[in-house]
Symmetry: D2
Subunit: 142 residues, 4 copies
Amino acid sequence: MARPDPALLDPARYPFANAVTTRFADLDPNGHINNVAMAAVFEDARLRFIAAVGLPRNTDNARFMVANVTIDYLAQAYYPQGLECHVGVLPGGRSSWNLRQLLVQEGRPVATALVTIVFTDGERPKPIDPALRERLDAWLIR
Amino acid sequence: MARPDPALLDPARYPFANAVTTRFADLDPNGHINNVAMAAVFEDARLRFIAAVGLPRNTDNARFMVANVTIDYLAQAYYPQGLECHVGVLPGGRSSWNLRQLLVQEGRPVATALVTIVFTDGERPKPIDPALRERLDAWLIR
Amino acid sequence: MARPDPALLDPARYPFANAVTTRFADLDPNGHINNVAMAAVFEDARLRFIAAVGLPRNTDNARFMVANVTIDYLAQAYYPQGLECHVGVLPGGRSSWNLRQLLVQEGRPVATALVTIVFTDGERPKPIDPALRERLDAWLIR
Amino acid sequence: MARPDPALLDPARYPFANAVTTRFADLDPNGHINNVAMAAVFEDARLRFIAAVGLPRNTDNARFMVANVTIDYLAQAYYPQGLECHVGVLPGGRSSWNLRQLLVQEGRPVATALVTIVFTDGERPKPIDPALRERLDAWLIR
């Protein structure tokens, strides 16, 4: 299995957390939480994080777009136990920012995600406003 | 919209409850929790209920099969609020039993489900064992 | 298992059909297509049917709302084979109409659905316009 | 948006393709195919590819595990149009192999995925058998 930086596996480093309940429909034929269901849990935590940060809503000429999602699957996750998804921001670029996410079940890291979100004018990348960057930087991974 | 028996809409009548978190992926283009996502939440509560009752696991010649699911959609459900699913048994037949489920969001009933589960020998209906029936009857809707 | 009217199981009676591909994520721990995934396939065929009929889009004071979905699960469905969903209208009421759907895999009926859709002014049922009723009646089950 | 190597965007380079139908439930509140639904389509094509290659089934001490999935989202995908997922193998390591996937809608690339699959003894990486490696190498990206 993938061997991510151990520092990424410490929930205490992440400023935001979201608890989710698993569902029977998340199970795959092996009786484990399906990889795609984990992707849905990462996505959900991301959206709740964005609401917590208070990012402005997408408009036609100022849109955040998820450009890349990289998930390391570290261990099996089970049903019916819940999952906890931790989220934090990485120091970012001019027109994009990166989120790091950690998915934990009963204290065990089961997956991590690195997500690149690009700020665009609808088509092309657009510099992130300093006020917005400051707001994001309040949620940096420690 | 459907107008179910008001007595069905009282959570206090159901002996079992399960809280679930909604997910961004549950949303449809209207910005509401999708009908199919509600069906997944009903299914999940059903499985957790079956675990709570302590029903025996399916074997090749003694299987529970969901034969019918009837859902009344009563009101829109929203994200990111959670849902609560209530479950109870209805007095049943010889080789089948019925569950009644109520889905609630922030105190508002949003859907009800009636589910018929048939006990089979893998192919044909099979009488439910008295001990099993007794165990089910401990979870009757009040 | 449920024993629906055999006449419902004849695809030739339905005026509309939609072929769908199954997905690995549709599978449940028993290795069958999950009941909720079948509900998603029924929903999808319903939406494609509505587009084929040319129903007007929902507005704030003229909305179609799915009030009830009743699914009979008849047999297991498998992966990776596809599914075919047949749809037809039943002679309807004043402010609602019913769809009957049949889900088939490799010639075998695996589930049927009866769906009640209510026409509303956003809150209460509203009579269906005769021109719209006529359009629906062109798609009656034979 | 991400700018992947243009050579990756040419379907003709991929030895395997799978057509899938989109579903209404794949849509997100923006009316686009949800990112997680795209992940499910990638997963599905992966499993069909593995069946085409004829990989042995997982056993307790010889298991393939998806260790990493990296998805670049390039453009919006729509409903009700279908999607086509192209798959090919990259020259691989000792105990792992990489798949490259390309998702296309009506000739437009909408996403690419890079997937690392590790061969394990259930716990630790295990060298891939030369016969198996040869079988994989028959499906290299051109």
